[in-house]
């Protein structure tokens, strides 16, 4: 099982009239074939911007990918010419987005929206593409697929639309599927169905996935490895089980502690993280979590900790040992 994707020191910023927004500040990770990597963090921590930067989907002015590389099978996606990148998008690396209503074109039939990838990337003609599209719709669990091909997005329910998006993204059997919070906008019950579907599909085709979410519960059922992001940095990276059982970064600890649990004492208040996420318009200096960290020491204010290995398949970016409170 080789490494499909290797991202090194990715930095993305946005130039706005109010200043430069430092959205992604040096992200590095690897993605192996067949694995599911979850990216977790609160809103605004840079998870979406990271994956969109990989496919260069961010608007380029005002956005700017200022450094780093993203090696897909050895080719740097960030330096590829646009026409070559178009061959990879949708065909080798696909994406599904958060809001299926706005992510589907309201004036085109979903049949068209599925077949256009097939015609562009697989060279199929209309008839072949339509037949394949019908198969895809059935595969993701949409009944009456032949008739549904001519329907428009607004004629589907939220969960159905997300299934359509999944069908669209898997049409050309991509090597990597990137899912950007695909279930956040859905009902909890529908959310469960979609995740079920994805797990099923994954088993059938052995897909490699990056799954972005802010919901730690979803991560547990779906991913093998997890990256925790904060303010554009990776603060912890571990195998799922290790993350839940042995979290080593204060932020991860705080996130897990903030989860409402059925076995907690009723009279305790929910534990929230004091303070607010940092203003990304300021160039990062020192550890981004320091202002809110319970275990902060002087070094944290001045030096940004580098992501280092602390155990097998477990990395954190922190100056202290979270159990003892002492510097490492």
């Amino acid at each position: 099982m080789g490494t499909l994707l290797e991202v090194n020191n990715l930095k993305t910023r946005f130039h706005t009239p109010e200043g430069t927004v430092y959205a992604v500040n040096g992200i590095s990770f690897k993605l192996d074939e067949g694995e599911t990597l979850a990216v977790v963090g609160e809103s605004g921590c840079g998870k979406s911007v990271t994956v969109m930067s990989l496919l260069r989907l961010i608007p380029i002015p005002p956005g700017e990918i200022s450094s780093g590389n993203a090696l897909y099978r050895g080719v740097d996606l960030l330096k590829l010419a646009e026409e070559d990148l178009e061959h990879i998008r949708g065909k080798e690396i696909s994406m599904i987005f958060q809001d299926p209503m706005t992510s589907l074109n309201p004036v085109l039939t979903i049949g068209r929206q599925i077949t256009e990838s097939l015609r562009t990337h697989m060279g199929m003609n209309t008839e072949q593409a339509s037949r394949r599209a019908i198969e895809l719709l059935e595969w993701v669990g949409i009944p009456d697929s032949t008739r549904r091909l001519d329907n428009y997005p607004h004629q589907f329910s939220g969960g159905m639309r997300q299934r359509v998006m999944i069908a669209m993204s898997l049409a050309c059997t991509p090597n990597i599927l990137i899912a950007d919070e695909p279930t956040t906008a859905l009902d909890v019950t529908i959310q469960a169905q979609i995740i079920e579907l994805v797990i099923q599909l994954r088993e059938q085709v052995g897909m490699t996935m990056i799954w972005i979410t802010h919901d730690l519960g979803v991560v547990a059922g779906l991913a093998e490895r997890v990256i925790v992001m904060y303010a554009g940095f990776i603060v912890e990276e571990a195998i799922v089980d290790d993350l839940y059982e042995d979290p080593r970064h204060p932020y991860t600890l705080a996130l897990l502690a903030a989860l409402p649990r059925a076995d907690r004492r009723r009279d305790r208040r929910l534990k929230s993280i004091p303070g607010a996420p940092p203003n990304l318009v300021v160039e990062p200096h020192g550890c981004p979590f320091a202002p809110r960290c319970e275990r902060v020491i002087d070094r944290c204010m001045n030096e940004n900790p580098v992501l280092t290995q602390v155990a097998a398949n477990h990395k954190i970016a922190c100056w202290i040992d979270v159990q003892t409170g002492a510097p490492r």
Partner: protein, 318 residues
């Protein structure tokens, strides 16, 4: 793991202040956006210059000079003595454009005042009370909107004709037709604002703070003027600004057709009346007034665009 939430230590507090930029007030944001809009700045400056032209100019050229006709000097090309040339009866074009500026700008502002008041009145009543009042007012508004403005202006100009006598104000004589033009432009342009105001009222009146005002017994008039209106000020300001441009153009058109402001009062529009008879022989007759109209309307449009961006960024720019 501790079970109490620790308050951030003094170091953390300090960095908290440093790392977070001070919040920008709405006014700050609006000013920044406006400033970015270089065209709006250009518009604003040009407008100030034009107003100065209209006011300062009167100190240099008295009105009698503007009206002084000397057929011996008729139709002279621009020269040192007459920088903009002279018209068919020998009047200095530059001086006339200065006084024309006053009237045109005045008409623009006055007409906008009328149309803004009318638009707010009708839009507020329709939007706030709804029901049959809304239906009636909106039918009426639609009826007025169906006919193109220029046709309405022509018909109304003819209707009011010469019914209003000349006015004597500050020792200067103004043709009664100025009042007529102001009124008819005001009466034919309020519809757009009325619809906007109505839409604002329809959406704002459902807000909780309005319900609260009702619940505490605030009289309707106070709710309209004190609560809802201030919240819809942005589109009103933008509309009024752009309305001045529209009014100046409307006055120019109607005066050009000979139905607008009558002599001896000069406006940029009526200086162009019959200009095409002299089109090739005396292009300065139409060029300078036309250019001034263009500059005025252009700067107002830039200004209005900038205001719209600054005050109401969600709205669409044209």
């Amino acid at each position: 793991m501790t079970t109490t939430t620790a308050t951030p230590g003094p170091i953390a507090q300090l960095t908290h202040d440093v790392l977070e930029a001070p919040p920008l007030t709405l006014r700050d944001l609006a000013w920044r956006r406006f400033r970015r809009h270089k065209m709006a700045l250009f518009g604003g400056i040009t407008l100030i210059l034009l107003v100065a032209y209209a006011l300062v100019g009167t100190l240099i050229y008295p009105e009698s000079y503007a009206n002084h006709n000397d057929t011996g000097q008729a139709l002279q090309a621009p020269s040192a003595a007459h920088p903009f040339g002279t018209d068919p009866i020998g009047r200095d074009v530059l001086a006339r454009t200065i006084y024309g500026a006053q009237i045109s700008l005045l008409i623009g502002l006055a007409a906008v005042t009328i149309e803004t008041l009318a638009g707010i009145l009708i839009g507020a009543l329709a939007g706030y009370y709804g029901g049959w009042l809304d239906s009636v007012l909106m039918r009426f508004t639609e009826a007025m909107l169906i006919i193109p403005e220029i046709f309405l202006l022509i018909v109304m100009a003819k209707f009011f004709g010469n019914k209003i006598p000349d006015i004597n104000l500050f020792g200067r004589i103004f043709s009664g037709s100025v009042i007529v033009i102001v009124v008819i432009i005001g009466l034919t342009s309020w519809m757009y604002l009325a619809r906007i105001v109505r839409a604002e009222f329809l959406s704002l009146k459902e807000n909780d703070f309005i319900l609260a005002a009702h619940a505490t017994g605030t009289p309707n008039l106070q709710i309209i003027i004190g609560h809802i209106l201030p919240n819809s000020i942005a589109p009103i300001v933008v509309s009024a600004t752009l309305g001045v441009a529209n009014a100046i153009l409307a006055e120019a058109y109607i005066s050009f057709l000979g139905l607008g402001v009558q002599p001896p009062t000069a406006t940029w529009g009526n200086m162009l009346d019959n200009a095409n008879s002299y089109m090739d022989t005396a292009p300065w007759l139409w060029f300078f007034p036309g250019l001034l109209i263009l500059l005025t309307v252009l700067s107002i449009n830039f200004l209005g665009d900038g205001l719209r961006d600054a005050l109401d960024p969600r709205s669409r720019t044209v």
